[in-house]
């Protein structure tokens, strides 16, 4: 393998991008003063994009749909924004922001999305997918049990990836640039040769998967040729490294429309090529920034075809092109490079944006200059999120990882995830109060739960019932997951992405829960006050009376925070006890995306005083307005959830008005750095940071056209605020904005 002047290591002998990075990285410890603005070419391109984005907004959120071609890596010819200005090329389809059909997840969903925009799927495609081809969605519903259907339709399990692609797999897109496709095919061929008998189910399956991967790699070579790129060989310079990496990602988003299609952690890898060219004097800083600006611009233009109902769980048309930046290497050096800064600089050069979903891997040991720059970017754009690198490195034992979807650790190229959406644990608590029956429909969900006795709710009795309910919910949840991922592998296998991951990778299944703060407060109320259930004629709870004050989650009060911690621990243990398809390791998240609104709608009144239908707090956030001791007490409560019990991530969204962060800009930057150091120093996992005035959001609701790029972080990702539904906008605004002075 040619080393192109780089320092050699294990990466020359086998596919090992991490080793290449460790051998060749140039950590950067200074400040942001070297950064450059956009080039004229970049500005012209972005102008074209802005016009297209406006058209998209004016056309009901979709600029165009191709209704004839089924998207695959190779299905479309070359597409450009404005060819003469592009230094990084490649679009998903042949036209900017045109969306493509990927019906292997489920044909009906595609047909519905197309018809919702007044179009029709080409009859031939329709014929194929209704007569001849089977999809993931068909497979799942062929085998779902009655019980699973019940838990799904009544809202105990929601957002399951059974009619859309599961996503969450991160290909190691860097491999294409470092090795070129010929070498990758060769390596996969070697794997294949080693996969010999006995030919049991799993062995046959792996052989078929590797065969598919090799096909996908060949398709990528062809895709590259359409743009005049020789992807079969490694990248020879910085521009090619960025281009090759993007092409690998592009193949993924041409083939798959998973809910989250993360990018990984490419910035410091690319920096190695950029740094080399800069040192050799073949490019300037302006060139370097131009590559990154244009790469990021392309990532911002990624689109998937979604039906309207999808908005309820994933609002704002997100794509989760999550790029993780920063963090530390196991050897103690920082992974921050100048290109880490250059990625963040795109938020100035192109303006704020929800995508790519930039995630800072925060370590106490990050260089001070980088910490401050991140803080400044948060204050100026509200577009980035933070995760605890020290915590993840230590617990997950890798320094080469990305964030899958919103908040979830994934070692790059070595591991994948099975996305599991989430279960409504607040509704599960109501099963404990209603003899195992759904509080809305009186349907028996969990047999064997005793009706509660006595005038007031008894804490121990409730806990005992709650545990029975959780046990059953965990089982049904697991069964649905096994079916979903079995079928996804079978009918919508991610061959392009998996071609860039080691053969037979380690798998985590990513379970999730919603409603944690409601459970904590409800149980706290039952424990610390007298709570009486008001029941309807069927004996189902419709409301509660609470006599007295109770400690509320979000105030750094162990009396309630311990309850939250224990519930997460308990449910995680329930899930861990059950074997998963392909021997995946169970992990759990406390994360809602925007589904906290729809979950709330489906959940009756709860003993914490929350009325029926009222939205949950997002992720692991305390309930709106109940955290009365200020922002840090609120952060400290969330920090108590043990990451070991929730390794798929614990999402917290922190919104603060600029003035509350400090009197002036300098103070604000320093104070936000201190806040992040403090929060993550307490082993907290994730934080979205919004620095915004409530008035700005209110104004944006009324005058959306004036805020085309207004970005706000919600649970685990960022959205363009004006693309949220009115209901979701109101929910965001009603949330705790820390505004004490």
């Amino acid at each position: 393998m040619s080393n192109r002047g780089f320092k050699n290591g294990n990466w020359n002998e086998s596919i090992n991008v991490r080793n290449f990075v460790i051998q060749n990285i140039t950590p950067y410890e200074e400040d942001d003063s070297f950064l450059q603005g956009p080039t004229d070419r970049t500005k012209r391109l972005w102008d074209v994009c802005r016009v297209a984005l406006k058209e998209e907004r004016q056309n009901n959120g979709v600029r165009a749909i191709d209704t004839e071609i089924v998207s695959t890596i190779n299905a479309f010819g070359a597409g450009y924004i404005q060819k003469e200005d592009e230094v990084i090329v490649g679009l998903q389809t042949d036209m900017l922001l045109k969306r493509a059909m990927k019906p292997y997840g489920g044909y009906n969903v595609v047909a519905k999305a197309v018809s919702e925009h007044g179009l029709e799927v080409d009859p031939k495609v329709k014929e194929i997918f209704t007569k001849y081809a089977k999809t993931h969605n068909d497979g799942v519903f062929d085998v779902y049990t009655k019980e699973i259907r019940k838990f799904r339709s009544l809202g105990f399990l929601t957002g399951l990836p059974d009619n859309y692609a599961r996503g969450r797999v991160i290909g190691d897109y860097r491999r294409l640039a470092l090795y070129g496709i010929d070498a990758l095919i060769q390596a996969k061929q070697q794997d294949m040769d080693g996969l010999v008998g006995p030919m049991d189910d799993s062995r046959i399956r792996v052989r078929e998967e590797v065969a598919e991967q090799i096909k996908a790699l060949r398709e990528m070579i062809e895709m590259g040729k359409r743009y005049g790129l020789e992807l079969n060989r490694p990248a020879n310079n910085a521009q090619e490294a960025v281009q090759w990496t993007y092409m690998a990602y592009l193949a993924a988003v041409k083939e798959q429309d998973g809910a989250a299609m993360s990018l990984g952690n490419v910035s410091s890898f690319l920096d190695i090529f950029i740094q080399k060219d800069l040192v050799e004097g073949t490019i300037t800083e302006a060139d370097a920034q131009e590559y990154i600006d244009q790469f990021v611009m392309k990532l911002r233009m990624v689109r998937h075809l979604r039906m309207d109902a999808y908005e309820q769980i994933f609002a704002g048309d997100p794509t989760w092109v999550t790029e993780s930046i920063g963090g530390m290497l196991a050897d103690g050096r920082t992974k921050v490079t100048k290109t880490s800064f250059r990625f963040l600089q795109t938020l100035y050069n192109l303006g704020p944006s929800p995508e790519p979903n930039i995630t800072i891997l925060w370590s106490q040991n990050l260089p001070e200059g980088f910490k401050r720059f991140c803080s400044k970017v948060s204050i100026d754009t509200s577009s980035i999120q933070y995760e605890n690198d020290d915590l993840m490195r230590e617990n997950r034992c890798s320094d080469d990882y990305g964030i899958a979807c919103c908040v979830s650790f994934q070692e790059i190229g070595k591991q994948i995830q099975f996305f599991g959406a989430r279960t409504n644990l607040a509704k599960t608590l109501l099963l404990a109060l209603n003899g195992g029956r759904c509080e809305n429909t009186n349907t028996l969900m969990v047999p064997g739960i005793k009706e509660l006795e006595g005038e007031y709710l008894d804490y121990n009795q409730v806990i005992e019932n709650f545990k029975i309910a959780m046990h059953t919910v965990a089982r049904v949840y697991n069964e649905s997951m096994n079916i979903i991922h079995y079928m996804h592998d079978r009918y919508y296998y991610e061959k392009g992405q998996m071609a860039l991951v080691d053969t037979n990778p380690k798998i985590n299944i990513a379970y999730g829960i919603a409603g944690l703060s409601i459970i904590a407060d409800s149980l706290s109320a039952i424990k610390h006050t007298k709570v009486k259930a008001i029941r309807n004629e069927d004996g189902l709870t419709v409301d509660f009376t609470i006599e007295g004050e109770f400690p509320k989650y979000g105030n750094d009060d162990d009396r309630v925070d311990d309850i939250a911690r224990k519930v997460v621990n308990h449910f995680n243990n329930e899930l861990k006890a059950i074997k998963v398809y392909k021997d995946a390791d169970p992990t759990l998240s406390v994360l809602t995306i925007t589904s906290n609104v729809v979950y709330g709608k489906k959940t009756g009144a709860t003993p914490d005083g929350r009325g029926a239908g009222v939205p949950f707090a997002p992720g692991a956030n305390p309930m709106h307005g109940r955290d009365t001791h200020g922002a840090i007490a609120s952060l400290n409560s969330v920090a108590k959830i043990d990451y070991k019990d929730s390794q798929d991530g614990i999402s917290n969204t922190f919104s603060i008005v600029p003035k509350s962060l400090g009197a002036d800009r300098k103070d604000r930057i320093v104070n936000l750095v201190a806040t992040l150091d403090g929060y993550f120093g307490r082993k907290a996992h994730h934080l979205n940071v919004n620095v915004l005035n409530r008035e700005t959001l209110l104004d944006a609701m009324e005058n959306p056209e004036e805020y085309p790029q207004l970005t706000i972080r919600v649970s685990g990702y960022a959205v363009n605020f004006t693309r949220l539904s009115r209901e979701q906008q109101q929910e965001v605004i009603s949330r705790s904005f820390h505004d004490k002075m």
Binding site: N636, L661, A674, R682
Partner: protein
């Protein structure tokens, strides 16, 4: 177990002392300043009892957020009413290596106060309501300015850091001649690190109403940028740092 009468706790204070701070607002104040934006902290008979150890635990939980600058500020109400109780609290905080700060109107200077601020308060923020005695009385409900000035003298003599804070109320505290007088009074103080101008706002008016008290400055408008700049200019002649908070 020792306890403190607390109005509220703000765990993310960024305007009451350096850095990120835990602010303990104590209950009770003898002044009744016309523009008070937390009038609900004035009555002596309200508040929630917090055990000192609970306050210390909360502060320790926040230590990581304080960075190099932050710490704990006790504000009010008027914290020095509770001087005796604050001594053990500040002792414990100092023992934990936490920066301590008192935000006071400087009315009280007894043995307990002296022990507290001389030995345990890393910083004192002294609110001067007005430099002119008549105006001072008018604003505070009849209290003489000599007490805060005496307090300032004591802090100066101790040689430990002090900030002056000054609420700029249009027509009430922004008279140029008095701003000069304020500057002249303090210009030779060595311990004063800066003066903070606190812009006037009416965010606390509803609290006056809910207490059944009449708010007398209803027709006073918030400062214009120009007014703030003007005051800053004048005070800059006398203080090494002037900050609009």
């Amino acid at each position: 177990m020792e306890s403190l009468s607390v109005h509220s706790i703000e765990s993310f204070g960024t305007h009451d002392g350096p850095g990120v701070r835990m602010i303990i607002f104590t209950q009770g104040c003898k002044f009744k300043c016309l523009y008070c934006h937390n009038p609900d902290t004035i009555p002596m008979d309200k508040g929630t009892k917090y055990e000192l150890e609970d306050l210390v635990r909360r502060a320790i939980n926040m230590k990581g957020y304080f960075g190099k600058l932050g710490g704990v500020t006790v504000s009010g109400g008027e914290p020095l009413i509770h001087s005796k109780g604050l001594i053990p609290l500040f002792k414990r905080l100092k023992g934990e290596g936490i920066h301590t700060n008192i935000d006071t109107n400087g009315r009280i200077l007894n043995a307990h106060t002296k022990e507290l601020i001389d030995n345990y308060a890393d910083l004192v923020m002294l609110d001067i309501k007005h430099i002119n005695n008549e105006w001072h009385k008018k604003i505070t409900g009849g209290h003489e300015v000599t007490y805060p000035l005496r307090f300032a003298e004591h802090r100066e003599a101790s040689g430990k850091p002090m900030w002056i804070r000054y609420v700029l109320v249009p027509g009430w505290t922004d008279q140029p001649e008095y701003l000069h007088e304020l500057g002249n009074h303090f210009k030779d103080y060595q311990t004063i690190e800066k003066i903070e101008i606190q812009p006037y706002h009416q965010l606390g008016v509803h609290k006056w109403e809910s207490l059944g008290w009449k708010y007398q400055l209803s027709d006073v408008e918030e400062n214009s940028d120009e007014q703030l700049l003007k005051a800053k200019e004048i005070l800059s002649e006398y203080f090494k740092e002037v900050k609009v908070n």
